[in-house]
Structure formats: C-alpha cells, structure tokens
C-alpha cells in the first residue's frame, strides 16, 4: 500500500474490483439546482437564518410579520437585559460597600482601644498622683480600709424593711 493519493492505484494494489467501477453518482439533481444555489443561499443568510428551516412542509404557523419585527424585538430585549445587568451590580456594589462600612465601624467600636484605654491610661499614671487625686476629689484616704457594709449602717427603719420583704418575698 502507498500513501499517495491515487485512489485507483490504491484499489488496484488491494486487488479490488472497485478499481474499475464507474465512480459517477447515479442520483439525479433538479435542473438548474447548482446554478441557482449560490444566489439563493446568499439571499437566505442575509434575510434571516430561520427561513430555510421552515421552507419544507413546516406544520407550524407564525404570527404575521413575526420575522419582520423579530430583529427590533430582540434588540429591545437585549438592550433591556443589558441595562438591567448594569444597574443591578451597581446597587449590589453600593449595598456591599455600605455593609462593609458598617462592619468596619462596628469592628472598630468593638475591638478598638476604647475598652482598654482607662486601664492602660491608669497604669501609666504614678500611684502617688492617683492617691492625691482621690484625696482631693472625694476627701478619702485611700490607705484607710473601707468599712464592711452592714444593713445596720444604712439607717433603714424596720418597717421599711418589712414592707420590702412583703413585696418581694421573705425567702
């Protein structure tokens, strides 16, 4: 067998009876078919792609002027879809940006130094100055131990205590 492109040589090498057979197709083609096809095909593709598929005994009916109006209808739909696609992402971006701001601000409030500032600030103030401040501001000596709070030191009368216990329960 060889690789060149002579079909008859290849068939002869195979000792095939097809080598000597006529290769002309016996099928008939309508008269003038090939002379008309180029113009017909061009007219078809430029007029609309679906016309040909409906040509042969199509059992379906279409609204009058369907294909005449279809390009404009499709264009309007496409434009509408495009404009929707533009506005929705903008709204989503805006919402996302706002959400990000809220989360950031909340995070800043929650995790910022505010909760630790008093302790940190106080720890940096010398103890002597703090004692002086408490003494001058509240007239208290920080070195004096605070007396244990007792109900008897509160100067509350017994009738008030009984009334309170009647309201809230004795146990």
């Amino acid at each position: 067998m060889n690789d060149h492109n002579n079909i008859q040589d290849e068939l002869k090498e195979m000792q095939s009876m097809l080598a000597d057979m006529p290769r002309k197709m016996p099928y008939a083609v309508p008269q003038g078919y090939f002379s008309q096809l180029p113009e017909h095909a061009t007219a078809t593709v430029t007029a609309g792609d679906n016309v040909l598929t409906l040509k042969h005994d199509a059992p379906y009916s279409l609204p009058k002027g369907y294909f005449d109006q279809l390009p404009e209808t499709m264009l309007a739909v496409a434009k509408e879809k495009t404009s929707q696609r533009r506005t929705i992402p903008r709204a989503q971006w805006l919402a996302a940006a706002m959400l990000a701001c809220i989360i950031s601000f909340g995070g800043y409030i929650m995790f910022s130094e505010h909760t630790t500032v008093p302790e940190q600030m106080l720890s940096s103030v010398p103890k002597v100055e703090l004692n002086n401040y408490v003494q001058s501001r509240y007239g208290m000596d920080v070195n004096t131990p605070i007396k244990e709070i007792s109900i008897s030191n509160l100067n509350i009368e017994n009738k008030d205590i009984i009334a309170y216990l009647n309201e809230t329960g004795w146990e």
Binding site: L18, A28, L37, T42, L52
Partner: protein
Amino acid sequence: MPDENDRLNDHMLVVSFKNEQLKETAFTQLVRKYQERLYWHIRRMVVVHEDANDILQNVFIKVWKNLGEFREEALLYTWLYRIATNETLTWIEQQKKHTSVSLSGDENILTEQLASQKDYSPHKIEWKLQQAILSLPDKQRLVFNLRYYDEMPYEQMSELLGTSAGALKASYHHAVKKVETMLLEG
C-alpha cells in the same frame, strides 16, 4: 485536495468575507466554489435530494455565521467539510431517533429511499454499488465516501474526523472488502 492556487483563492475569499463591503460577494463565490462537493458529500450519506438540500443550506448558514472568526489554522476546504460532516451526522442521528419506533432498520429506510430515486434500476452496477455502500455503518460509510469519491488524503481525513490516519486506512480497506462482498453476493 486544494492546490496552491486554490489555497490562495480560499485565503482571498476569507479576507474578502471579513470586509463588510465584500462579504456577500465573497460568500456567493464560496458557495459557488464548494456547493457541489459539499452537496455530494451530504447526498451520499442521506440519499434524498430534499434532505441534502436542507442540510447543505444549514451548512452555509453556519459558514455565514462563523467564517468571520475563521483563523485559517485549517484549510477552508477542511473546515467546510467538517461543518458539513457534523451537520450530516447530527441529522442522521435525529432521523434515527424519529424512526426508532418503526419496525424498519436504518438500512432498510435508506434502501427504500434509494429505490425511490429517479431512474433507479436494481440491476445496474452503479445502483448496486450505492446499495452496497448504504449497508456500511454511518462512520465507515463516511470514510469510504471521503476516500473513494472525494479522494481525500488520509491525513486530511484524520484532521477532519479526529481519527488517526492508520485507523482510517484500516476502516477504508475493511469497507472496500465489505462492499465487494455485497456486490458479489447481490
């Protein structure tokens, strides 16, 4: 197989098609140049003229839609054959689905269609040959037709069908033997 002049001509057709002002003229020339080869490629597979015509027109619609993006990495000739082959095989598959409930097999349907052709004569050798070719499975029939009628080189057929040249050669030789057997039996 296109020669150098053909390739240059094809290149000019593609370039012209991409020019909006020359598009329709280039397309008409392309159809004129390839219509018969593509038509017969399809008709040998589907037998009936009306079916071949429908498929061919679908092929040209696809060409119209896609030639603008054709990068000429393959020959225009191969590209056109690929579209025609795909369209034909898709059509055949659809027909099989439609007729799957009928009692007749695919081969019988094709035989009936062959017998309904104008000037059909079961005793004439050219019709006997067609009958024998129609007995081949679709893919093998495609390979046989591309080689026997279109004289397509195996390498190009390989590019077209995505099968190795060796496998195509084996398929063709097997098909030739089957057709011979059918002719001798008939």
